[in-house]
Amino acid sequence: MKTQTEQKAGHRRVVIRGYVVFAVSIALLLVFNSAKLRSAVRDYPANWATDRLVLAADEWHGWMGRLGADQLAPGLRAPFEAFREWRWPS
């Protein structure tokens, strides 16, 4: 049987593990999926704060574009779209 302290320590490790998982996922999405981030923030109603968000997202997307990281998503989509367009021979 685990003691209460051990259980609590085990639980804390899992919660912290959660932070790491989410942080790594967010980083990955920010780098390789900056186009979706840019389009998502553009959907917000325009105001002082969202204007700045849009500018920041544009700038970030520009950086990722220069690094070539924004090419991964279209690269994945292209073969899927090709299959989607495929029709039975007539």
Partner: protein, 475 residues
């Protein structure tokens, strides 16, 4: 706020961090989860927050009154009043327009023209689900299966807890309330299982259900007479699969999100398309609603007697499905859909009672195959009524399907792969996701993050811009 959106992602991260920071302080944690749930609901339409609170207060007061009385007649009066009040609220929002339209048509038929009080009523999202939870609380109290909540906060949180608030699963008070009052823990297996369920739900909704809908189901059901027989056959299979993916996808995400917050919800779908009988399919489809209908509607129809005549059993089965159809929507198409399932269940039960199958080995092997084929087709054909916006489209769909017009346009190879792939996956072992989660729990956190992030990125890459609301939001 829809699950597969940036807003929900940010909202969830904040709730995750704050709820675990308050792990050892139950009252502040409950207050946080309640505030988060009301924020989540109010994000759609803040005007209905009052309705959510009213429903919770009504059931709390009824529960408190039930807890105070030992008089059986008085208890029956309280529970009848509470259930009626819940149903009146639900009925007003869901069926007012339908009954007014039907009454207008009837009066016109009789040659009477009347200006009836027309109201533009917006259906509050998730109203059925929180009403059902409220009813289950007061009825379970009345039946002596649970004790009244100690604090209104517990009941308000039970009714409004955000992961299951708008489209289920319908959580029972006896299952949820005890979890509120003990210090929550997050195990490695639960965390891993929660992540896998979230990914599974997102994939079902944003990729599979989405492309089945936009490439095949929506255009074909918009104008069935414009399409060939093969397209129509394909589209009716696709719609049955789409509803499953859409709804079970929502349930997966809800159960996964709840698991990451330390709550355990039961499975809501269990590979329904591998069922070899309709009764089995309904035990595996939207399990929380099927069991709710069994415990609160079928049992109420049956009364206190456990044994009833065969005819009464058949009547109750039929009525349960018919009312289940009406719950889905105030339209004849839903009533017919419920009626088909009611009749088919009765027929199935009757055949099982009276027909003795031959015992030869090849026949024993063949009968599950026939059972699966018939079950799947009854479900998918009845779904034509479920999907059709009106009876005209439904009849047009059937007549066009029987017109044997040649060609194939919309039922593309991708659609065939999606439909047959989803059906094939139904035959995997019941605990396949749990086994995957058990393997994943020992992975290093960074690797797990890379896998989780890559899976979301893949879905974002091939998925659509934006996401359509879940089908069951309208119910």
């Amino acid at each position: 706020m829809l699950f597969p959106t940036l807003e929900f992602g940010l909202f969830f991260l904040l709730v995750y961090a704050a709820s675990w920071a308050l792990r050892d302080r139950l009252l502040p944690r409950k207050l946080l989860l309640l505030a988060a749930s009301y924020f989540f609901y109010g994000y759609w339409d803040w005007r209905f927050l009052g309705l959510l609170a009213l429903s919770s207060a009504l059931n709390y007061l009824a529960g408190a009154a039930l807890g105070r009385t030992a008089d059986k007649r008085r208890a029956k009066l309280i529970v009848t009043g509470a259930v009626s009040a819940n149903l009146i609220i639900l009925g007003f929002f869901k069926y007012y327009g339908f009954f007014l339209d039907s009454l207008t048509d009837l009066l016109l038929l009789l040659g009477i023209q009347r200006d009836l009080p027309l109201l533009e009523i917006i259906l509050p999202i998730g109203i059925s689900f929180f009403t059902f939870q409220g009813i289950s609380y007061v009825v379970d109290l009345y039946r002596g299966q649970i004790k009244p909540v100690a604090s209104p906060l517990d009941l308000f949180l039970y009714i409004s807890f955000f992961p299951q608030l708008v489209a289920g699963p319908i959580v029972r008070a006896s299952h949820f309330l005890p979890q509120l009052n003990k210090t929550p823990t997050l195990g490695a297996a639960s965390f891993s299982y929660g992540l896998i369920l979230i990914l599974s739900g997102l994939f079902k909704k944003t990729i599979l259900a989405h492309y089945l809908a936009v490439d095949l189901v929506d255009p074909v059901f918009f104008s069935p007479s414009d399409y060939s027989t093969l397209d129509l056959i394909g589209a009716h299979y696709a719609y049955a699969i789409q509803v499953y993916l859409d709804f079970s996808g929502y349930s997966d995400i809800a159960i996964g999100v709840a698991a990451l917050l330390g709550f355990r919800f039961r499975k809501n779908f269990d590979r329904p398309f591998s069922a070899i009988s309709l009764a089995q399919l309904w035990q595996r489809w939207h399990i929380s609603l099927s069991t709710w209908l069994r415990d609160y509607l079928y049992r109420a129809l049956r009364g206190e007697k456990k044994e009833s005549s065969v005819l009464l059993t058949y009547r109750n089965m039929f009525l349960t499905m018919l009312l289940g159809g009406l719950w889905h929507g105030a339209a004849w198409t839903f009533i017919i859909w419920g009626g088909i399932h009611g009749l088919a269940l009765v027929a199935e039960r009757h055949i099982k009672r009276h027909v003795h199958w031959p015992a030869a080995a090849w026949q024993r092997h063949l009968s599950p195959v026939i059972g699966w084929f018939v079950t799947f087709h009854v479900f998918s054909l009845a779904a034509i009524f479920f999907r059709s916006p009106d009876m005209h489209i439904a009849t047009s769909y059937f007549s066009s399907m029987l017109a044997f017009s040649p060609g194939i346009d919309r039922f593309t190879p991708l659609m065939l792969v999606l439909v047959s792939g989803v059906v094939a996956v139904q035959f995997l072992p019941a605990n396949a996701l749990e086994r995957l989660a058990a393997r994943g729990q020992s992975l290093p956190a960074v690797l797990m993050g890379l896998i989780f992030g890559s899976a979301i990125m893949f879905m974002e890459a091939i998925g659509p811009e934006g996401v359509a609301p879940f089908i069951y939001f309208q119910f």
